[in-house]
């Protein structure tokens, strides 16, 4: 069997476009996940009544339903209720809904790792609870949880391969289309793997670098 190089070269623009779309969805998904995660973990940290239970329920729901089902619900289910969202919006909401709980758990772990003496040290300076969270607890928690946050980012990037299920022309769907039209199965799949590697490897390096940068809190204070 020989590799059809012409086909590969011709397919590059399609993959490029799909890769950008995948990146865009992942970018927004990750960003919003981080915001949701942060808010949820702060609510849990401050033990805010009612909101705390809502957050708990959300985390259970989000972690115990597959992304595919969440996407179907958003895309097909909500349409039946008269609420039609674009494919991309659904994908971003789906990724954020899933990622938010994972990020929240990562932050929570980091917050719990901040030592009691750090907190008392802040209190004895007269810091309010909010100032304490902002200047002492969250920066350190972030540093403690950076590796799980990184793992979650990679996880969410990989999960984007599912959004093809709601008719988005992402890498997965482009590949399926090309296989369907030209029967160039091997070449198409090879391109798919390469495209994901091109996205994921730099991301991975970036995260490792970031991790090393913000690890200050772990070096014996």
């Amino acid at each position: 069997m020989s590799i059809n190089w012409d086909f590969i070269i011709n397919s590059i623009p399609l993959y490029e476009k799909a890769a950008w779309l995948t990146l865009k969805l992942a970018f927004w998904g990750i960003l919003i996940s981080l915001v949701i995660g942060l808010i949820c973990s702060v609510i849990q940290y401050f033990k805010i009544r009612i909101l705390r239970s809502i957050v708990g329920a959300y985390i259970e729901l989000s972690r115990n339903t597959p992304l595919l089902i969440q996407l179907y619900f958003l895309y097909f289910g909500l349409t039946k209720l008269g609420l039609t969202l674009s494919e991309n919006t659904c994908a971003i909401i789906g990724l954020s809904f899933l990622g938010g709980s994972y990020m929240s758990e990562a932050f929570r772990g980091g917050i719990e790792a901040v030592s009691k003496s750090q907190i008392e040290s802040g209190l004895s300076l007269g810091l309010s609870k909010i100032q304490l969270a902002r200047y002492v607890i969250l920066p350190q928690a972030f540093s403690f949880s950076i590796s799980s946050i990184g793992a979650n980012c990679i996880f969410l990037l990989k999960e984007t391969s599912i959004v093809g299920a709601i008719a988005i022309l992402d890498l997965m769907n482009v590949t399926k289309d090309l296989i369907g039209m030209y029967y160039q199965t091997f070449e198409s799949l090879l391109m798919l793997v390469i495209a994901y590697l091109i996205i994921l490897l730099p991301m991975s390096f970036l995260l490792t670098w970031l991790e090393r940068k913000v690890r200050y809190a772990e070096f014996g204070n």
Binding site: S117, E120, L125, V136, Q140, Y216
Partner: protein, 249 residues
């Protein structure tokens, strides 16, 4: 002396404290005047740390009263955030914030809590850093400092809040021996300037040198209050004698 100066700066009356129904401090009576240095001695677990923590509201008390300048610190409507600005505390484990540089550690309280002018605080901070010999480490992160340096910075951080009283909880207990001195000298310097202090320590020579009065605590009770000379040469209670014997080596 005017009547205001005669009023004790800090007054502890009938203080009672328990953890999970277990008594930790009982019937504590103590008055601290402005400029006075109290050293609290006692065996491990006798309640020294707890006493200091009660004084700045890190632990609630179950009985008695604490007064700062005649104002009660008991009850629900006490604004500890405000009171803590007047009571500086330095702990055993150098608790500088590792995510901030030395100067950021120092400025946090004065600027964010007290809302003071940054330039003015910066000047004060530099002067204090200079005094403890660490002006050149102003932009260092805590992880780049030795234990003794960290404790001196922690003292400067507390001082920059312009507290009326400083609490020290075994601030040299985690230090390598060669660093103990540099920290104790800073505290001695403060005593000379008339800072009011309550110091928990196991450094007996230092205690004798710095204290106006020694408070000997045992099993949550004050056994003895005496001038250092008297306490170290002629302790009145059997418990204090036993305690001092341990340090004879």
């Amino acid at each position: 002396m005017s009547s205001e100066e005669k009023q004790p700066l800090l007054e502890i009356k009938d203080l009672y404290k328990e953890y999970d129904k277990k008594m930790v401090l009982n019937d504590i009576q103590l008055q601290i005047n402005k400029g006075e240095v109290i050293v609290v001695l006692g065996p491990s677990g006798c309640g020294k740390s707890t006493l200091l923590r009660c004084l700045n509201g890190l632990e609630p008390i179950q009985g008695g009263e604490i007064k700062l300048r005649g104002k009660s610190l008991s009850g629900k409507d006490v604004d500890w955030q405000k009171i803590r600005q007047h009571i500086g505390m330095v702990f055993q484990n150098y608790d500088l914030f590792p995510n901030m540089t030395v100067i950021e550690n120092i400025l946090l309280g004065p600027i964010k809590v007290q809302k003071r002018d940054k330039n003015q605080v910066l000047m004060q901070a530099k002067e204090l850093l200079d005094r403890v010999g660490l002006l050149d480490r102003i932009d260092a992160y805590p992880r780049q400092l030795s234990g003794g340096q960290k404790q001196r910075i922690a003292i400067v951080r507390a001082l920059c809040m312009n507290p009326e009283i400083m609490l020290f909880d075994e601030v040299t207990a985690s230090l390598d021996p060669e660093m103990v001195r540099e920290v104790l000298e800073v505290i001695l310097g403060l005593a000379k300037q008339g800072m009011t202090m309550i110091i928990v320590t196991h450094e007996m020579a230092f205690a004798q040198a710095v204290a106006d009065r020694i408070v000997f605590l045992d099993a949550g009770n004050i056994c003895e209050i005496a001038e250092p000379q008297e306490f170290f040469t002629d302790p009145k209670t059997e418990r204090a004698k036993q305690f001092l014997n341990i340090f004879q080596y």
